[in-house]
Amino acid sequence: MPQIEIKSANAFYDKLHVLKNIELSVDRGEIVSLIGPSGSGKSSLLKMLVGLLIPKSGDVYLNKTLVNFNNQSDLRVIREQIAIVFQQYNLFQNMNVLKNVSIAPTKIQKRNPKEVNDQALFLLEKVGLKDKLESYPDELSGGQQQRVAIARALCLNPEILLLDEITSALDPELVKEVLDSIRLLAAEGMTMLIVSHEMSFVREVSSRVVFMDDGSIIEVNNPKNIFESPKEKRTLDFVGKILKDK
């Protein structure tokens, strides 16, 4: 059963037509990767799903329910289920690491502070930041901030996780660790949409791969096909180039 369904969605930044006729459905427990050149609209597609970019036309369904992006309570409902890790991390600069992770579960989800604290500590330890609890984002490296952002998203216990280039600032060792945690979550059945340039990871972990270019979805295929025998020439060019660069 599709958990997310996007039907001919179009979105704009002022005059820039950034998402063109997007059709995509994602089943519960699926891991769908988004690949494509810089500026092709991958981040924008994720932002649309959390209501930061309102589609001008088309429909989005979450668990078979049509989402009205202009309705605050609809927005609240989708944001309760979907957590996003932003490409730029978007941490709160005036809060320390622990607070960044625990503020929403305590103040917004109104969960038990003790329980949230335990979970936050567990997650931060898992991403290797146990000794940075009191640090502020501007005292952390890019990779460390990225891991805080991952912990913050996971601490929400979301049903759907959107991950935007979560390995871009990590060194290879950490990439492995973070990707291992992602695999673990995948095994637990969390639905995920992942934007990544890490092709070997995309290939290994995804159930399907979406190739985007210039705001459109060019091809949706299984990982093996996308990398070995894509249907579209544009996919072949992109994949060929990115694999050659490696």
Binding site: F86, N90, F92, N94, I103, A104, I108
Partner: protein
């Protein structure tokens, strides 16, 4: 030289000076608060307003930040009566300082608006913060931190600027120091004590502002810079 410092005579006037300091403080606080409020309106117009309203605010700010404050108050005090508007010295000074402060504080607060990070607001929204929670947890702590140094600076400049009121015969701290001086001629003692009182009131104000920022808005402010 042959000048011996004798503070005892001047110390008798201390209560009189402190009452004057209280008036200085009143003018500074009222003008600063009024300027903050009026400046906030101007900054809002400047940030979100249309072309015409923007230009009007720009003219206002340019005028008040490029002419001497003293001339502005002279205008209110001496020129307005020509149009049938008579202001007492106290009101003329207070009004002049408020209008002047509004121009500067508009610019300072606008810089605060512009420094709000859209990234953090995006995160707050997707975490389901309400508008009030965004203001409380994200916007205010950030703005307070950015605005604290320039605001407290300007407040101090204004407190010291209240001494201009003496020219118009308002009996605030400087005016009273001047009065005692013409009575006793102990200039060194009088004006050194007066200077000290100014330091005390500016320091108290900075401290209070920092405490407010730190504990009410959870802003990371260093109290001793």
């Amino acid at each position: 030289m042959g000048y011996t410092l004798v503070y005892t005579q001047v110390l008798e006037f201390l209560p009189y000076l402190i009452k004057g300091a209280w008036i200085s403080l009143q003018i500074a606080i009222l003008a600063f608060s009024g300027g903050m409020f009026f400046g906030l309106i101007l900054a809002t117009i400047r940030t979100f307003g249309n072309n015409i309203s923007n230009k009007i605010v720009i003219c206002y700010v340019t005028f008040f930040t490029n002419t001497p404050q003293l001339v502005q108050i002279y205008f209110l005090f001496f020129a307005l009566p020509e149009f049938g508007i008579l202001l007492s010295p106290y009101i003329a000074v207070l009004l002049g300082m408020t209008l002047n402060a509004a121009a500067y504080l508009c610019e300072i607060q606008r810089a605060g608006f512009l420094s709000i990070r859209q990234n953090e607001l995006d995160a707050a929204k997707t975490l389901n913060f309400s508008l009030m929670q965004q203001v409380k947890y994200v916007i205010l702590p950030h703005i307070m931190k950015v605005l604290f140094p320039p605001l407290s600076n300007h407040y101090i400049i204004m407190t010291l600027g209240t001494s201009m009121a003496a020219i118009f015969g308002v009996e605030e701290l400087t005016g009273r120091a001047f009065n005692i001086n013409s009575e006793t001629f102990r200039s060194v003692e009088i004006f050194s004590i007066t200077a000290l009182i100014y330091i005390v009131i500016t320091f108290i104000a900075t401290f209070l502002l920092a405490v407010i920022g730190r504990y009410f808005f959870k802003a990371k402010i260093r109290i001793i810079q």
